[in-house]
């Protein structure tokens, strides 16, 4: 199982590395978008896929990161990539504040509230809150990022920046999944009450899922702002959230599923540009059909693999020994 997972990642890595050699700038740009949506969907996947929390307001976190970057860069001259951790922190902080009171809400209620949050954020941005966000026109003139004295400006530069970021994210998220934290989120998704009854602080883990997802989305907002050099409230509409939601659900919740979902939802429509107006129609239909025939998504996560420690026979009835030995695990 692990072999096939590793080889498939290696395959993806090789394809991703050589792809720009074959593509013109336009298509390179398309793949930059696919990469950005992949990271955003990966960060949403922690909340929606791993913890099973119906969150449809991810664009709000992404927006906070992008605006923090834009403001820091255009007003205070902070280099774009330096703003990245602050963008992440700002989004994480925002998530902590807004998610805490709503975290206990039942599935579909949470969904509606997160939609409400993303709408409020968009309206706030249009209304030029604190006089910083530039109203409906947004902020423009964000400078190009510099990395080790190298200016990142061409699509191919962004391509490698974004996909390196995707690779890092997948590596870290995979580790996270295969840990106490990742398991706890899955327990919550499977059965909230049983998780709490097994000693998992469900409220806290749900909040941390939100905070981590928001942190990553905020950092991704930095790269988005750098690539676009201009951002406006309409880039963070509710529909962005819907697209991200669909990438995770249709992909199936595994990291590879997210990559596939991002490719299909962001990349594929580019192949059918003449039917561009009908693509959302097909997209909506695909969601319905998918739920009827394959509700688990295209690539659902595979069960984790554990290498069990060497067996020691334990005879029921001589439990005293078992307790003594088992006590070491506490």
């Amino acid at each position: 199982m692990t072999v096939s997972r590793t080889t498939s990642y290696a395959g993806i890595a090789v394809v991703v590395a050589v792809l720009p050699l074959l593509l013109d700038p336009y298509w390179t740009d398309v793949f930059v978008s696919i990469g950005l949506y992949s990271v955003l969907a990966l960060s949403l996947n922690i909340i929606l896929g791993q913890a099973g929390l119906f969150h449809m307001g991810h664009a709000a976190f992404y927006a906070v990161g992008a605006y923090v970057t834009a403001i820091a860069n255009t007003m205070w001259g902070v280099p774009v990539l330096w703003a990245m951790p602050f963008a992440g922190l700002a989004a994480a902080l925002f998530a902590m504040v807004v998610a805490r009171p709503i975290i206990h809400l039942r599935g579909d209620y949470l969904l509606i509230v997160t939609i409400g949050i993303v709408e409020i954020v968009r309206i706030a941005l249009i209304n030029n809150v604190f006089g910083l966000t530039g109203g409906a026109n947004g902020i423009f003139g964000i400078s190009r990022p510099m990395l080790f004295g190298f200016k990142i400006a061409k699509p191919v530069h962004f391509y490698y920046l974004v996909w390196a970021y995707v690779a890092c994210s997948i590596l870290l998220f995979r580790r996270l999944e295969n840990s106490r934290f990742g398991r706890a989120l899955n327990y919550i998704k499977e059965d909230d009450t049983a998780a709490e009854g097994s000693g998992v602080n469900t409220a806290s883990y749900k909040l941390w899922a939100f905070v981590l997802g928001a942190f990553w989305a905020g950092m991704t907002g930095t790269i988005y702002a750098a690539k676009m050099t201009i951002i406006s409230p309409e880039s963070f509409s509710f529909w962005e959230s819907v697209v991200l939601f669909a990438i995770v659900i249709l992909g199936g919740g595994s990291n590879r599923g997210v990559l596939l979902g991002a490719f299909l939802l962001i990349g594929l429509p580019e192949f059918f540009r003449e039917f561009a107006s009908a693509r959302m129609l097909a997209f909506g239909l695909a969601m319905v059909v998918m739920m009827i025939f394959r509700p688990q998504g295209m690539l659902p996560p595979m069960p984790r693999f554990y290498k069990l420690p060497e067996r020691i026979r334990c005879i029921t009835g001589k439990g005293g020994d078992a307790a003594a030995q088992a006590g070491g695990g506490a």
Partner: protein, 301 residues
Amino acid sequence: MEEFFQQLTNGLAVGGIYALIALGYTMVYGVLKLINFAHGDLFTIGAYLGFTLFTAFGLAGWVSGPGGVLLVLVMVMGLVALIGFLLERVAYRPLRSSSRLSAVVSALGASIFFQNAVMLIYGAKFQVYPNDIRPSYVLSIMGIDVPLVRIMMIAASLGLMLALYWFTQRTRIGAAIRATAIDQGAAKLMGIDVNRVISLVFMIGPALGGVAGVMVGLYYGQVDFTMGWVYGLKAFTAAILGGIGNIPGAMVGGLLLGVIEALGAAYISIAWKDAIAFLVLILILIIRPTGLLGERVADKI
């Protein structure tokens, strides 16, 4: 005082629309425990069907005056009810025993499908309702001028709500709907065909939503393909406000939200008008998730 009265009547008119749409959400939620995300788009479809009937076939000119409007309303009700019926059959019934998330995603997909279907058919530009079909009289009530169309809107939505209330409270089928919402299994034991009840609910709700769509066209004079989302979300807020699943609650919640929004826009800030509804939604869910008329029930473990 005049300003207040204007905003109040305006709020009631808009609130009536919210209430009519909210009834669809709350009835579907009642029987299926599902948020029908596509409901807002059924409202849009109603508005556009009304537009088509008024313009393309010129029904308003053919049958003069209020009769034509009434005819269009009835036709829209029937057509949208049919779409609602098909929606449930295609997108929801196969998922009856699936997880909640599957049904929610399917509902979202249906919503995206409807919205884009409307856009492909009618174009992305807004459409203008013919001007001559809506009454332009202005009534003077205690020295304050109120457009007749506003009064008619309030009357129409109240009339429809009362009719629905009577239907659910006083008829055999209405009792079957309420019973199905409380306990589907027990309803089956009464010999109620639960599938038919669900189909019926998916016709009544959309029919009311469709009427609301035409009313918006008549009130504001124009309709656009994205309006279903904003109205849908607000109507859903109204349903939650009144306690989801609760029919009188949806009525009260809708009117209340309309008035809150109108007064908020007038006295606080018009720029934040759309945010008010969402803020109300979030606050009500945090403070009293069961809504104003809902009951608190302990979760069974």
